[in-house]
Point group: C2
Chain length 388, copies 2
């Protein structure tokens, strides 16, 4: 659980009177959004770029503006001075999700009516609600039209939802390693993780903030999800069947069933790191919102949903991503083309699976940079199914 947030955030609070209506119909408030901005908003307010983080990300997309550069940004590869998303040109905004645990109101926040954390009394919310909260922040900042919205994985789902709900709110959109709905397999893996949290005796029906956190359950949830973020080949190349030679003292108790292979040690390390920064209830709510998300609402055709889109849209996938596969994004591309929308599709060759979007990747940098530059000069022509 995050004890303190190690970089300077801004906070925007609204709906103190519970005027904010969730998609469920429930009214909820107050809502605080923790966010960071990088670069300067110009006078015309037309250089704002909204970066949307993924499931367990936060507002700290770049460390470029840290006073002491202490905390790496999760997208330092892409965002900063002179980078693909150039903070000398753009006013970059990144907000922690509604329902999250890094600055925004979520299950670990104190309910002012009770003085206690919400826990599982936090309302059920959707990806649509998460977008609505971001929209309120953008309104608050006085921005009528975003230059670009960009996001990967769950962040990409929010980009799609922004386009559906607020098609006039952005000029350009970039959706990376995402899908318009999760596959059955992805739901299944997240269900395993949720079960591990629910089965942890410390979970205590979500009411653990005054006692021991359900760290083992949350760590297991992270472990299983993490495997799905890596490709079979990349995990093979990285760890193979190498034996772990540095067993931690805390793992000695497991004896023969401790981390024998390096990959086991690595996964346990990922689990341990994760529980230091993330809240188990947030994980339950956010994964469920992700699993429930369906751009078509399960009711309309994907191409009919696409009909509402107005922005120039770039869709990027990675060849080895089996979490949100290129085929799944291709469905969206086809739907957008079907409605004659301005869509560009790039399937980047990468061996690293879903996590490719968070790694240094020259192709990704080049594609994003080129898409944004073409927009700037105004000379960009419609291209479908561009391959690099």
């Amino acid at each position: 659980m995050p004890k303190k947030i190690p970089y300077s955030m801004k906070y925007f609070t609204f709906s103190e009177d519970k005027s904010f209506v969730l998609e469920s119909g429930e009214k909820f408030g107050p809502i605080t959004v923790g966010y960071e901005t990088f670069g300067e908003l110009n006078k015309k307010k037309n250089n704002a770029l909204l970066v949307i983080h993924a499931l367990t990300g936060d507002s700290h997309a770049t460390s470029q503006y840290d006073p002491d550069n202490a905390t790496p940004g999760w997208w330092d590869a892409l965002i900063g001075k002179g980078k693909s998303i150039d903070t000398e040109k753009y006013f970059v905004i990144c907000a922690n999700y509604f329902g999250g645990c890094m600055g925004s109101t979520g299950p670990s926040s104190i309910n002012p009516e009770t003085g206690q954390p919400y826990g599982l009394k936090f309302p059920i919310f959707t990806v649509g609600d998460m977008v609505d909260v971001q929209k309120r922040l953008i309104d608050h900042l006085g921005i009528t039209k975003l230059h670009t919205i960009i996001g990967g994985s769950l962040g990409g789902m929010l980009v799609l939802e922004w386009n559906y709900k607020y098609p006039d709110s952005m000029e350009n959109s970039i959706v990376i390693a995402s899908a318009h709905k999760s596959s059955t397999q992805v739901i299944a893996f997240y269900e395993v993780g949720r079960n591990a949290i629910l089965a942890d005796p410390n979970f205590n029906n979500g009411d653990y903030y005054q006692s021991t956190f359900p760290e083992r359950g949350l760590a297991i949830a992270r472990m299983v999800a993490h495997i799905t973020y890596l490709s079979k080949d990349s995990i093979q190349t990285k760890f193979g069947r190498d034996i772990n030679e540095n067993i931690l003292e805390s793992d000695l108790m497991y004896g023969f069933f401790g981390p024998m292979f390096q990959v086991e040690s690595y996964l346990r390390h990922q689990g341990r790191k994760f529980v230091l920064r993330f809240d188990a209830n947030s994980y339950l709510y956010l994964t469920k919102a992700m699993d429930m998300y369906d751009l078509t609402r399960g009711k309309i055709k994907l191409s009919d949903a696409a009909l509402k889109f107005k922005s120039k849209i770039l869709i990027i996938t990675f060849t080895s991503d089996w979490h949100y596969s290129p085929q799944e994004s291709w469905e969206i591309v086809k739907a957008l083309m079907n409605k004659d929308k301005d869509v560009t599709y790039v399937n980047i060759e990468s061996p690293y699976g879903h996590d490719s979007f968070l790694m240094d990747n020259a192709d990704l940098e080049r594609v994003v940079s080129s898409f944004l530059k073409e927009k700037k000069t105004g000379g960009r022509e419609k291209k479908n199914n561009e391959k690099i």
Copy 2:
């Protein structure tokens, strides 16, 4: 945990004097092997066929000989009178694994020296040890040379190990949906399952036989493994994003985080079914033996291991199997061809993933049947890389 075994088994006990030496060097005994036989051993004792079950299987490979046909055999599709493995022709033997929990000595067995179940005091054992125990059973049955050894998944690893350790003990071998070692990804997924068992507060360091079983941990282990046995497409086709409309009373407590989607309900059902029939300690030991298995011992070339093989060998994979992929079997086929061994390889088109080998599959039946028939007539010629 199995309370009783619902079909008639035979038992063979040896090493009462602890003369049996494990690959670790440890001496262990007594060892009981629970096994079933189907059909009749002929006078020449040359029609014996050893069927090796997979990770969580048991000796009940066919229900054909059940007095009341009460318990389905796990390979009823393939084994029985007039079937591919014809019990009118073959004397079929299927034994529960050493370390298992369905008739053979394993962690849930009573240690005669203490009068208590072994639990985690059960010795560490390997796939090689599991084969050695089977070899003792075959010797006990007076069989010098098996007609055929056949096994799928972990069972296929044992078939490979039999060929390496006892190359003169079988005429023919059939390896289905297996590998000569588990990939890093497979190890990673089993490690998640083992962690879920270790994290269950009822696990109690393996000493739970007098109290509550670690059912939730074991169920989670089964859930994650089960996902890897199905292909992404087959789970998508079967469940899609359909909503679960019949929530069990026992799941109501989870509210919003209960099984919302049918796939979630299905996985929980798989978990619940599994804990009724399997022991958590056996699951730890057997998955670890599987993860540790490497035909090459990590020391020699695969083709050098293949050099020892003498049987005619059929290797079968399924196109959509991502647990043990066709590519992994292809490595073995190449190694065997490299040493000019009599190997046939068939990659069967199937959408059902790893579990294809346990399902009704006309191609599988035909390929196994044809391989065995060719052998019988003696007119079988060497064919490499046969495709159907």
